[in-house]
Symmetry: C2
Subunit: 191 residues, 2 copies
């Protein structure tokens, strides 16, 4: 089942995110993030997929990859999915673009493997999306070792971490996007 | 919530699978499949993660990657996840290994983006896993353009395709594994 009223989009942040030592870094865009998340977003009817990276050469690389597929690999599912990808320099740019497309304010929702307290449940956010409480929801995902506290604090709400009680919370961000979109937008009624 | 009684494992088949023209091929192992699915399996408490490939050099490459991480990158989450990875030449080998570990017969469950009729729902299989109806369930995933009809027919049951009604069913296999494990083993009660 698709979200009918609230528009849902995804932003993958390459800055500001943590590095391994909890330092704030800018990560590089990886090909598998672009292709995988584009295909996941396309499956769930979610767009744009914002690739947030302040480095101009990184954004140009994303555009070059898109151009290559659009020009050389016409008709391939990957090409179709890549049309959802939009590189932008900052989260503010992604938010402004989504507000324009949705014609109203954007609700920022942070995700992190660290979030345990003061969090939103999947069920709760899913029902608000279905009820079209907001014109648009932008789901924020961090590369590297995750979104910084500053970004998490800036969001209107924080989604509970995916935690299966196995003592391991190191999903690839690509997998986290897939699971979270399914929990929020997949029909809970059919299974 | 973890499966308490039924042991669940994942097999990623590189043969026999379809190529783009519906021909039967053997695909190559990719690094992102190994790492991503290992981390997803570890998150959901699922093991082994069988990498099925009849080409000896391909299985040796998987072992070399494991060795590299075990020896060089001690303490990294990826290294922990890679310990679940087990390269085997055939699906029969994976099934026999899992039967030994579980001490009983293995129920083979095929997945495919093409499956629409005569399929098992997620809810139904999830409840049988929770009820420990079988000693072990082996979830079969295909690389390339998917499991062959022969493999699908050989399985005891077929899981319904992930279909969000958006007209696009080209998820990366890594994302399909994440979503399917979450639907089968994630607690439906908490959201």
């Amino acid at each position: 089942m698709m979200a009918s009223g609230t528009r849902v989009a995804v932003a993958l942040l390459h800055h500001p995110v943590y590095g391994r030592q909890q330092e704030v870094v800018t990560t590089s865009v990886t090909g598998s993030d672009i292709h995988d998340i584009a295909r996941i977003a396309r499956t769930y009817g979610v767009f744009p997929f914002y690739i947030v990276n302040p480095v101009t050469a990184q954004r140009e690389m994303v555009e070059a990859i898109k151009r290559h597929w659009f020009e050389e690999v016409v008709g391939h599912p990957r090409t179709e999915a890549l049309s959802l990808v939009l590189p932008v320099p900052s989260l503010a740019d992604a938010t402004a673009d989504l507000a324009r497309r949705a014609g109203g304010p954007v609700r920022l929702v942070a995700t992190s493997a660290r979030l345990r307290e003061g969090v939103t449940s999947y069920k709760d956010l899913a029902s608000r999306i279905r009820a079209a409480v907001y014109p648009a929801v932008l789901l924020l995902f961090g590369t590297g070792w995750g979104l910084t506290e500053e970004v998490i604090a800036q969001a209107e709400e924080r989604l509970e971490a995916i935690d299966m009680g196995t003592g391991f919370n190191h999903l690839p961000v690509r997998a986290a996007v897939a699971i979270i979109l399914d929990r929020l937008l997949g029909s809970r009624l059919s299974y």
